[in-house]
C-alpha cells in the first residue's frame, strides 16, 4: 500500500510515530503477533497504523475478531469490507462456539451480556493459534483501570493481569520477552485520547462505521442510558422503546453498549461534540463498567482486554 497524505499536525504525528514504533518492535521480536480487530474506531486506527508501519509489504501479523455474536450488524459488515479491501484474512473467534462447546455458560435475564464471556473465547483462540502477542486498541483515558496499564502488558499462563506486579517500562525501550506459557497484550494507542482518535480519523481521512454518526434509532432507556432495541437484549415491561436521534461513542457488544443523544451527523460535528464532552466515553455508554468501581479491573484480571 502506498500512502501519500498531507503532513499531520506535530502532536498527531508524534502519536502516530510513537504507536508505529511500538507496533514494529513487537512484530520484530515476537513470533506470532495478532491484532484484535472489532471494526470499532480504535481498532480501525490500529489496523491503519499497522498498514503504515509495514507499508510496501504484506502485513506481517494476523488479524482476529472475538465475536460475541451480539454485535451491531453494520459494524460487522464494515469489519469484513475493510479487511477485504486491505486483503487481510480475518480470523473470527466466536463466543457462540464457546457456548456451544460448553466452555462458558450464557447469562440469562434482561441484563445478560456476553461481554464477560469473551475473555474465555479470546484466551482459547490465543492458545489455539499460539499467538504470543496481541495488539489491542485500549486507551488509558477510557477507564481508571486502563489508566494503570502499561503499553506492553504481561499476561500469565491463565491470561490474567496482575496490576500490582507490572513490569517497569522505561524510556521507549520495550521488554518483549515473556516467560513460558505467558503472552503479551500490547496497546500501541495507550496515550491517545478520544479527541486524538477523532482528530486522527479526520486528518487521515479514515472511514468508520456509520453508527458513530447521529442517526434515528429505536432505543429504550435503562439506568439513565439509551440502548438500541436488538434481538440480543430482553426488555422488561416498563422499558418501552421510542425513536431517538443518537450516535455511539464506543462500539462493543450490543447488549452493554449505550448510545448518546446527539445531532452530530458529520465528522466536524463529532469532533466538536467530543471536544465539549463532559462525560468520559465509557462512562456515557458502557453498562459493563458501571457495575462496580472495579468492573474493568476485575474483567482484566480474568483475561479481558
Amino acid at each position: 500500500m502506498a500512502f501519500t497524505n498531507p503532513r499531520l499536525a506535530p502532536a498527531l504525528a508524534a502519536l502516530e510515530e510513537e504507536s508505529v514504533h511500538t507496533i514494529r518492535e513487537v512484530v520484530a521480536e515476537r513470533e506470532r503477533p495478532v491484532l484484535l480487530f472489532s471494526g470499532g474506531k480504535d481498532s480501525i486506527i490500529l489496523l491503519h497504523l499497522c498498514a503504515r508501519a509495514f507499508a510496501g509489504e504484506k502485513l506481517p501479523l494476523s488479524v482476529m475478531h472475538v465475536d460475541t455474536g451480539h454485535n451491531f450488524e453494520e459494524v460487522i459488515a464494515f469489519r469484513d469490507a475493510l479487511c477485504a479491501s486491505l486483503s487481510v484474512p480475518l480470523i473470527v473467534a466466536s463466543v457462540q462456539r464457546s457456548i456451544d462447546e460448553g466452555r462458558v455458560t450464557e447469562e440469562r435475564g434482561p441484563r445478560a451480556s456476553r461481554n464477560r464471556l469473551q475473555s474465555v473465547t479470546l484466551l482459547d483462540a490465543i492458545a489455539e493459534h499460539r499467538f504470543d502477542a496481541a495488539f489491542g486498541g485500549a486507551r488509558r483515558d477510557e477507564d481508571r483501570a486502563r489508566a494503570k496499564e502499561r503499553v506492553v502488558s504481561v499476561r500469565d499462563e491463565l491470561g490474567g493481569w496482575d496490576p500490582k506486579n507490572q513490569r517497569p517500562e522505561m524510556f521507549d525501550l520495550y521488554n518483549l520477552d515473556v516467560a513460558k506459557g505467558g503472552h503479551l497484550r500490547v496497546f500501541p494507542i495507550s496515550n491517545w485520547t478520544e479527541l486524538d482518535v477523532w482528530s486522527y480519523i479526520a486528518a487521515r481521512d479514515l472511514r468508520v462505521p456509520d453508527i458513530y454518526f447521529a442517526h434515528e434509532r429505536e432505543v429504550f432507556e435503562r439506568d439513565g442510558m439509551l440502548y438500541g432495541v436488538t434481538p440480543f437484549v430482553q426488555r422488561t415491561a416498563s422499558e418501552v422503546s421510542f425513536t431517538e436521534t443518537v450516535r455511539f461513542r464506543t462500539v462493543g457488544d450490543a447488549s452493554c453498549t449505550g448510545a448518546v443523544r446527539s445531532s452530530a451527523r458529520t465528522l466536524p460535528e463529532v469532533l466538536r461534540e467530543v471536544q465539549d464532552a463532559r462525560v468520559t466515553e465509557r462512562g456515557a455508554t458502557r453498562a459493563d463498567d458501571r457495575a462496580t468501581d472495579a468492573a474493568m479491573e476485575d474483567r482484566k484480571k480474568e483475561g479481558y482486554f
Binding site: L8, R24, A28, G56, R140, M170, G283, E297
Partner: protein, 429 residues
C-alpha cells in the same frame, strides 16, 4: 481548540507516601476544570462512602481496588488533561520504596518530575523517599525537576518552612554524584497547598512572600523534551524484504531516526561493521521525502548491498563513535534478586538486544548519604555503577550528548523481567 501544534507536556509525580501527590494531580485537574463529570461523581461517591465531608481529590487517580482499599498508590496512573493553556499527560506515581520501579517508569518519559515535599514531616532534612525520588530524577536526567513544597496550609504558610525545604533539595541536587554525565536538569521550587488549592492553579493571597508564578503557570511554560540534535542515529527496527521492482527491489531498513537528521544521498556507516553506503531513498509514514528528522519513522534504502539486520545502527560516515563491548553503566536496579559480578543478563539498546555479563560492580550509591561507596552487589532499588562485557559491540553514545544513544534496559534471562534502567556516560568522574 487545541490545534495539535504543540506536544503535550509529560509530568510525573514523585515524593514520599502521603505527601499529597494524588491530591495535587486531582487539584490540577479540578481547578482547570478538566475532570469529566462521571469521574468527579465517582470521587464524590467514594469519598462519601468513606465518610469524608469533602470530595477527596486524591481519588481522581487511584484506579485499582487495592489502592482504594489501602488508600495508597501502587502503580502509575496516566491522566490526560486539555487545559486552557496546554495539554498535559500526567503520570501519578507511587511513593513507597517497593514501588520504585513504577516511579522510574513514570519519570523515564517525563518532561518534568514534580517531587513533593511535606514540610510538616521534614524538620531537619528531606525524607528518605523524597531523596530517593529526587535521586531517580537526577539519575534519569529528567529535563525539569520541580520541588513542590506542599501542605503549606499546615505550616501556617511559613516562608521559613519553604526556604528550609528549598535549601535541602538544592543542596542534595548540587552534591549528587548522579548528575555526572547527564543532560542538565533545571530545578525550580514552588510552595503550594494541594488541599486548599493555594498557588496550584489559583494564585495564593496567603503567601505574599512568594513572587513566582503558580505551579500551573510554570508548567504551561515549560518546553517538551526535544530529540538530541547531535549526530544522526538510526536504529534498524525491521528489514523490509525486496518487493518487486524499482525502489522496492532493494531491502528497506525501517526504523525511527533517534537524533539528528539524514538526507537522500548522505553516506551512512553501519556502526558495527564500519561499512558505508549512500542513501538512495527515504520514505516517511507520509510517503517519500528528501530527508528525515529526529523522531520520524523512515524506511531507508541504500545504493549498495551491505549486510544490515535488526539492531544495526546507521551513523554519519564521519562519526567518530567507536562501538565497544566493554562498557560502564549507571544502573537503577529493580530486580528482586541482587546483582552480583558474573551475572549474565540481556541488554536492550535501541533495537539491539545482546547478552551482558557483569564484570565488576564499581560502586553503589547511598541515597541517604548522597554519595557513592564501594559495593560488591546491587540490591533491589539501589543505584550503582557496573562494568559489563557484551556479546556484541554496542554503538552507544554518552547520555549527556544523546539521550537516545545513551540509555538501555536490562532484562533477566530467567524470569524475562525488566531488572534495570541503564545510563551510559563517558568515563568515571
Amino acid at each position: 481548540m487545541s490545534t495539535y501544534c504543540d506536544l503535550p507536556l509529560r509530568c510525573a509525580t514523585a515524593g514520599s507516601v502521603d505527601d499529597g501527590k494524588s491530591t495535587l494531580i486531582g487539584r490540577l485537574l479540578f481547578d482547570t476544570d478538566t475532570i469529566f463529570t462521571d469521574q468527579l461523581s465517582h470521587v464524590t461517591d467514594v469519598s462519601a462512602r468513606q465518610g469524608k465531608a469533602e470530595a477527596d481529590l486524591s481519588l481522581v487517580t487511584d484506579g485499582l481496588r487495592a489502592e482504594r482499599e489501602q488508600g495508597i498508590t501502587i502503580d502509575v496512573a496516566w491522566r490526560f488533561a486539555t487545559t486552557p493553556l496546554r495539554r498535559f499527560i500526567l503520570a501519578d506515581a507511587p511513593g513507597h520504596v517497593q514501588y520504585t520501579r513504577n516511579t522510574l517508569t513514570a519519570a523515564s518519559t517525563a518532561d518534568v518530575l514534580l517531587v513533593l515535599v511535606d514540610p510538616t514531616k521534614t524538620t531537619d532534612s528531606l525524607l528518605p523517599q523524597t531523596k530517593r525520588h529526587l535521586a531517580a530524577g537526577l539519575f534519569l536526567g529528567v529535563p525539569n525537576v520541580v520541588i513542590v513544597v506542599n501542605k503549606m496550609d499546615a505550616v501556617g504558610f511559613s516562608h521559613d518552612a519553604f526556604v528550609r525545604a528549598r535549601e535541602w533539595a538544592c543542596e542534595y541536587a548540587s552534591r549528587s554524584p548522579l548528575t555526572v554525565g547527564r543532560p542538565r536538569t533545571a530545578l525550580s521550587f514552588f510552595p503550594v497547598s494541594a488541599l486548599s488549592g493555594d498557588n496550584v492553579v489559583r494564585a495564593s493571597t496567603r503567601m505574599p512572600w512568594f513572587d513566582g508564578p503558580t505551579l500551573y503557570a510554570h508548567l504551561a511554560e515549560l518546553e517538551t523534551t526535544a530529540r538530541s540534535t547531535s549526530e544522526a542515529r538510526f536504529s534498524v527496527q525491521w528489514v523490509r524484504r525486496p518487493q518487486g521492482v524499482g525502489s522496492l527491489a532493494r531491502r528497506g531498513y525501517v526504523g525511527t531516526l533517534a537524533s539528528g537528521e539524514l538526507r537522500e544521498r548522505d553516506v551512512v556507516k553501519v556502526a558495527a561493521s564500519g561499512l558505508t553506503s549512500r542513501i538512495e531513498r527515504i520514505e516517511l509514514l507520509d510517503g517519500p521525502s528528501p530527508m528525515v528528522h529526529a523522531g520520524q519513522s523512515a524506511t531507508i534504502t541504500l545504493q549498495d548491498e551491505v549486510d544490515v539486520s535488526r539492531g544495526d545502527v546507521f551513523l554519519p560516515e564521519a562519526s567518530a563513535l567507536e562501538p565497544a563491548r566493554q562498557v560502564e553503566l549507571d544502573l537503577a536496579w529493580v530486580g528482586r534478586e541482587a546483582l552480583v559480578p558474573g551475572a549474565t543478563l540481556l541488554l536492550k539498546h535501541g533495537a539491539k538486544k545482546v547478552r551482558a555479563t557483569v564484570d565488576a560492580i564499581l560502586s553503589a550509591y547511598d541515597v541517604e548519604e548522597n554519595a557513592a561507596r564501594p559495593a560488591s552487589s546491587l540490591r533491589l532499588n539501589d543505584f550503582g555503577r557496573v562494568r559489563v562485557l557484551t556479546s556484541e559491540p554496542l554503538a552507544w553514545a554518552p547520555y549527556a550528548q544523546s539521550r537516545e544513544g545513551g540509555r538501555a534496559i536490562l532484562i533477566s534471562r530467567g524470569t524475562a523481567d525488566t531488572v534495570a534502567a541503564a545510563i551510559f556516560r563517558s568515563s568515571p568522574p
